[in-house]
Amino acid sequence: MESLTFDLAQQALRDLNQYLHNEAKTASVKKVIVANPDGAHNIAVGLDCPVDVEVVGHAGYYAGGMNKTATVTINGSAGTGVAENMMSGKVHVKGFASNGAGASAHGGLLVIDGDAGLRCGISLKGGDIVVGGSVGSFSAFMAQAGRMVICGDAGDALGDSLYEAVLYVKGNIKSLGADAQIEPLTETDISALKELLSAAGPAFAEHDPKSFKRVASARSLYHWNADANQEY
C-alpha cells in the first residue's frame, strides 16, 4: 500500500498515533495522510520510524513533537510547540506556526514557510530551524546548540542568553537579547546557510546566503561577574 488516510472527522487521534507508533514501523505504507485535522492537538507526536506524514489542514498544539526520523508535513498552520523536542527527521509547516515552535529540539529540521510566533527555537539543543517569514519576540532564548535561519524579521530580545546556537537573520532585528551580538559572516556560515536553505526547499534556496546577518553569543554571561551588580 502506498498511502493510508486517517480521517480525524471519523477516526480518533489515538488510532492515528498508535498506528504511527506501532504498525508504521513494519508496514509497507510509505505515506500516512491525516485528513480533517481541524486543529487537534498532539498530531503525529513521538514518531520513531522513517514514515512520511502529511497533515491536510491546520494542526493544534505540539504537532510532530518529539519526532525521530519521520517527516511530518502540515499543509496549514501549526499551533503552539510544533516539533518541540524533535530529535531527528523533518517537520515542515506550510502555513504559520504559533508560539514555541521547535522549542528544545535536539536534532532534525523544522521548516516554517510562513511566520513563527514568539519564543521560536527557545532552548534549542541542536536542531535546525528555517523560517521563511518573521519570528516573534524572545526567539532562540537560551538556545544551546543548533542553527536558526530567519528569512524575515526578528522581534524583540532575539537570542537572549544564547549559548552556542547560531542564528542567521535576513531582515530587521527589532532588538537583540542580553549577550547576543551580530558577528561577521564566515565561510563556514555561508556554507551552513547554503546547506540549510537548500534543505528547506526550492523557495528558500533563492535567498542569497550573503544577505544574512550572523547572531551569536558574546559569551559574557558564561561566567559569573560580581562587578556586573546584577545589571546586564
Binding site: N36, D38, G39, A40, G57, H58, G60, Y61, G76, S77, G79, T80, G95, F96, S98, N99, G117, L118, G136, S137, F138
Partner: protein, 302 residues
Amino acid sequence: MCGIVGLLVKKPALRERLGELMVPMLIGMTERGPDSAGLAVFTDSLADSSRKISVYSGLTADGADFNWQALGHGIKTHLGIDAKVDAKGNHAVITVQSAAEPVKHWIKEQHPMLHLLSTGRSIDLYKDIGTPAEVADRYDFKHLKGSHLVGHTRMATESAVTPDRAHPFTAGEDFCLVHNGSLSNPNGIRRMLEPRGITFETDNDTEAACRFLEWRLREGDELEVALQKGFEELDGFYTFLMGTPDSLALIRDPFACKPAVVAETDDYVAIASEFRSLAHLPGVNHANVFEPAPEEMYVWKA
C-alpha cells in the same frame, strides 16, 4: 486556561444564524473551560429612550422558578414603568422604555439576590456554571440572533466557580469583556477605581480590567485610546475580547502568553483561542487565518 470565542457576521442575512454558527465554537473550547460559560450578543439597538437589562435568578432561593411576571408587575406598580419581561428559566431580559438606573436600583432593593448581568440598548448577556454544552442548551444559544457576539468558557484560577464570576463581565452600558489569562495587579486597579465611585461586584481579576476599560471609555477615550491605556495599566497574562454595539476588539499581552486565532472571510470574522473552535465554520478552508500579534489592537466593525 479558559477559552474565548467571538463572531461577527458581515452580511445581514447571517444575523439569523449567529447563534447556530457560534454554538460549536463555544463547545469546541470545553477542554479549555469546562466549569462555566457565557456569552454576550449584540442585537439591533433599541430606541434611545429604551433600555434592556439581562437578569439572572440562579442565586435566589427560587432559582429557575423565579416569578419573573411578578417582577414585571412590581416595576409597573412601584415605578410606573412598563416592563416587558422575556424570561427563560433562571434568566430574563427586561425591556423598559425608560432609563435603566431607577429600574436597576429598585430590583437591587427588592431582590438583592437577583444578579444584573448587563444593561444597554443592544447587549443581551447569559452566563452560568456548567459545561459550555449545558449552558448553551440552557439558554438556547443556537437560536440567538444578532450582528456579533463575545463568548467564554471558564477554567477558574483567580476566583471561585460561581455564576457571577463567569464571563463575560460588563460595566456601564453595552460593553462587555472576556479574558483568557490572569492579571497580577487587579487589586491595584480596584484601589485606583473605587475612590472614583466605581463599585465591584466580585473579587474576580477580569472584573477589574472590564471596569478599567469601561471607565476610560466613559471618560471619553476612543476605544483605541482606552486599549492603549489598558496596555499601560493592566499587568499580567491576557487575551481580551471586548464587545460594543458596533465592534469587536481584541488585544493580547506583550508576551502573547494566551492564544488567539482569527479566521476572516467575506461573510464573517471569527475569533477563538484555538483553531479547533473555527474548524466547522462554512468556508473556513478558504478563510484568511492568522494569529493576532501581541500588544496590537484589533477592532472589527459590525
